[in-house]
């Protein structure tokens, strides 16, 4: 038998194979899917929200973190990547209207 001893025993599992831990897939590290990682230039980012809107993986975080750029422009939010969830698809970089996101190859 190939079953590992780490997995729960039959009586420890919920009848009907339901999952009660909501949204627990967000705890899965998908970073090893990535060939390239998106890197954001916070100076160029105009907080248009499009990367957050389009991301299929909820990997763009919209944070209530003020940011003041070199020209003195203050933003109330900052967008950052959750690199555990990001699969490196590049949609954010492709859709960014001001080219604030660059796809950078992951070190092998």
């Amino acid at each position: 038998m190939t079953s590992t001893t780490l997995a729960p025993r039959w009586h420890e599992m919920p009848p009907g194979a339901v999952v009660r831990e909501l949204g627990n897939s967000a705890s899965i590290d998908r970073s090893d899917w990535r060939l390239e990682r998106p890197v954001r230039d916070q100076e160029k980012c105009i907080r248009c929200r499009l990367c957050w809107i389009y991301c299929p993986d909820g990997a763009v975080l919209e944070l209530d973190k003020p940011y003041i750029n070199r020209n003195g422009r203050r933003y109330e939010v900052t967008y950052e990547f959750d690199y555990r969830l990001c699969k490196g698809c590049g949609i954010c970089a492709e859709e960014c209207t001001v080219k604030a996101i660059t796809m950078v190859p992951e070190a092998l």
Binding site: S3, P8, W10, P15
Partner: protein, 397 residues
Amino acid sequence: MTLASTRVKVATANEAAAEAVKDVDVDVVAIYPITPQTTVVEKIAEFVANGDLDAELIYVESEHSAMSALIGASACGARAFTSTSSQGLIYMHEVLHIASGMRLPLVMCVAMRALSAPISIWNDHSDLMSVRDSGWVIYVASSAQEVYDTTVMAYRLAEDPEVLLPVMVAYDGFIASHTAEPFEPAGRERALELSPKRRTWSRLDPDSPITMGTITSPEYYYEFKYQQVVAMEKALEKARELERAAQRVLGRSYGLIETYKIEDADVALLVMGSYWDNARLAVDEARRRGTRAGALRLRLYRPFPLEELERALRGVSVLGVVDRAISYGARPSGPIALEIAASIGRRLDLSLVSIVAGLGQRTVTVEDLTELAVSLENARGARDAHLVTRFYGVRGL
């Protein structure tokens, strides 16, 4: 219970099933016509139309959707019901497995009927036998009264937190479904006393959201299936308790099997469903002709009441199993005979005779059953009698 408190009605098994659905206050009913089940849902629709039952009726476009809609309803915590027959049962086969796998306490009545092809709207047990491994608890009732009582009882068993399995209440199409006989409904108060509404199962609730119907890897699937094995074992135990509860609340119970003159029987016939009345008459007639005959009826088919059967069969030297379906190419070819051969045939040191009869509602009379009972004597001591099935009544044999 006093006679004054009773209210005897005359009804078919179909109407009795509908009456039970009303009395246990079912919330959602999926309705789809197929002969001979149809008058169950017609009667329920009448109860709803007259305000005797507050339920949502879903006029589904197929039996597949009937079972699917019930799964959705039950997943929200509703008490759900449907009934079907024959091709309809087979059409919903896929979803039967899902209902049990999701551990949803549905109840369904099945007015048993033959399967196509050729098409036959008449009765036998081919439909039920095709779904016996779908993880449902299966009762086979033999009278309108029993259909009523069992449908009420079914919700208590299904919703038992240690069981959580769907329950089928089967009975013979036409022979039971369309034959009126006296029966006594318990009424809503007593029906709900026996089967109170308790939402004991995992369900969809925005206040406490869960994910249902997941996909599993080889790492997890098997354990969930084993849980169903254990739930069936539990259901057997609970079904025994349920008979005692029914006796207490309804004033009636049946046991998981019924027997007739089995105590001193030398040969015995085992039947399911409506043949029970004729089997008992045949026992009396066989005894008049000098054969010490007895009869048994399987009332609970899944889980299989092995202990009860073994106890009853002690002392019987030849058992004739009358199947009303064929397991083509199997030896024996009667599905119940096959199971008995596998489970108890050798242990009890009895000879087993497999008989297939009454397919597509070919009439089997008391005389036929008497002849079958008497003929069992010929198999005394035959160790391999069960390897050949007797296709009783086929012209040219």
